[in-house]
Symmetry: C2
Subunit: 331 residues, 2 copies
């Protein structure tokens, strides 16, 4: 089975990002488009704050790109909230054909992958991929409300409060030249406070298969970035690949390791959540690809596909890694 | 904005269905492939029973089609459980590229739509769309465990215990000739026991736009079927369309109205859930399309995109209707 899908005509044409307080105070704080230091985005509940944030990211994309809503053929959206209500309420004000996704934290890359396929095939001139996560909504849904004061494990990651939106079209400056959907992988990790370990084997599966099938070497890429393996998962990923004879350490980074200051902010194992890879890709990597500071990179969106009830029932965590290949270059 | 996407080369090539006791006792009981009258499918919990059922539907599709797992380029899957764990655990044993969807009860049609687009564009030779819902898992997640004995409202629908899988390829006997993704619509309904009313305006939006853009008349179709509006929502849909000058009553039916006996089984407003449209389409409509008993039909997958917490927070229910056009004919 061939897993890599070559894409002939798809480009990221614009990207927007919106973040909360912790993200604004991190090392990338200055590059995000919009920040709300209350984390509330004018809403009454944390769940609704996430929708408001996603709405802001979408509106900001419209502003930056100068696009008209009518030009969008399809929006691919999803988030971590039960039944993905972050997105269904977040995009309610926009009359656009809506494809709901659930890829846990891999959703940004999943949406970009489907947007690239849809545009390149000519089904739409422009697609939008949008996703979000909110620390306070995620904490009380997956774990406990922060008021409870539960202690965090050293391997735990911090859900990014952030949302990003990407416009994908057939002309632009950053080419999506290939995509490769992941396979669901579960290697026995059932500790919901160690999602990096649960997701690393899925990322390794995708990356290993990509290099094997493409014939590329890690040196062909300036950067190989995972979405949110964090310090723990990133280390496991590099070890797993090294044991298969693939050394990506010189090119490797992780969005969850970039977004917070490891010493000053101490978010334990790093950032996570749908918003993590989304805002880092939108505001850190995309501009660098656009100007050619990065020529060619791989992004592997990583997702842990469990639920609170599957964890309560003692099941191990299935995970996934979707890959896109991005290249500098006008088309 | 043009919303209809014409598909040149995509066919449903095989379909499988698995159901529980109530569905087996309904008027369509004899046509489903597999039934487990315990509703447990050999699993320990209702959530895991749903995954086991989805696994069975996928395996049955492999058996019926004679396909090899290696032939599947992509599987599009999703369900109603939090974080779609029905699918992530259900398909864990199969090494196939996995695209997770969330479209609430519209997921079967959403998956078929994306499968058709993916195959016709040549990104994969064969795709699989799979979905499921389980009455007992859904009841305790969305409402109360049935042991609680809560009284049901007359407008409430009954979540179908069922899973179906569809193979889509470039040769077959039932053509997916057009698809049209829905727009999220919310018209103020916040009664989670009346999802038909919440979803009807979304279905009406899609159907009205389809006829306007295509120039077709309802008479051009043998059947126009919605996924799970039930009796209540189906009536509202026909009234909404009639008030816009579109009369579909002669062609109209609803999978949620077909699956249970209205008098003998009394499921109030009819069936619902991801599995509802999936199993009815797989085992009732698909064989009729394959032999030409139905020449041309529209299926509108309907989904209510709320969550228990959005309902608790008093929000109205956003809904969606995705459309596919199916035609008898070998390709």
């Amino acid at each position: 089975m061939k897993r890599i899908i070559k894409i002939s005509d798809a480009f990221i044409t614009c990207a927007s990002s919106v973040v909360g307080k912790q993200e604004a105070e991190g090392p990338l704080g200055d590059i995000f488009d919009i920040c709300d230091r209350t984390d509330k985005f004018g809403a009454k509940t944390w769940e609704q704050a996430e929708s408001a944030m996603q709405k802001k990211a979408f509106s900001q994309l419209m502003n930056k790109s100068g696009m008209d809503i009518e030009e969008i053929g399809m929006v691919f959206a999803g988030d971590l909230q039960n039944q993905c209500v972050g997105s269904s309420y977040g995009l309610l004000d926009f009359d656009v054909p809506y494809i709901g996704l659930y890829g846990a934290c891999s959703t940004a890359v999943e949406g970009l992958m489907l947007s690239a396929m849809t545009c390149s095939a000519g089904y739409a001139d422009t697609c939008v991929a949008v996703t979000s996560s909110h620390y306070l909504a995620a904490e009380r849904q997956y774990r406990s409300p922060i008021e409870y004061g539960a202690q965090r494990s050293p391997t735990a990651q911090w859900t990014v409060t952030g949302s990003a939106a990407f416009a994908v079209g057939r002309k632009g400056d950053v080419r999506i030249s290939a995509v490769m959907p992941g396979i669901v992988v579960e290697k026995g990790i059932n500790d919901a406070s160690n999602m990096g370990a649960a997701m690393a084997p899925a990322a390794a599966n995708t990356i290993y298969a990509f290099f094997k099938e493409s014939g590329h070497a890690p040196e062909d890429f300036d950067v190989i970035a995972t979405g949110d393996l964090g310090y723990e998962g990133g280390k496991i990923l590099c070890e797993l690949l090294a044991s298969s004879g693939l050394d990506i350490r010189r090119q490797y980074t992780d969005c969850g390791a970039l977004i917070y200051d490891r010493i000053k902010q101490d978010k334990h194992a790093g950032g996570s959540g749908c918003g993590c890879s989304a805002v880092v890709l939108a505001s850190y990597f995309y501009p660098r690809l656009a100007v050619g500071k990065i020529r060619k990179m791989l992004v592997i969106g990583t997702g842990a596909m469990m639920s609170p009830s599957s964890i309560q029932q003692g099941l191990a965590i299935p995970a996934i890694g979707h890959l896109i290949q991005l290249e500098h270059g006008r088309g």
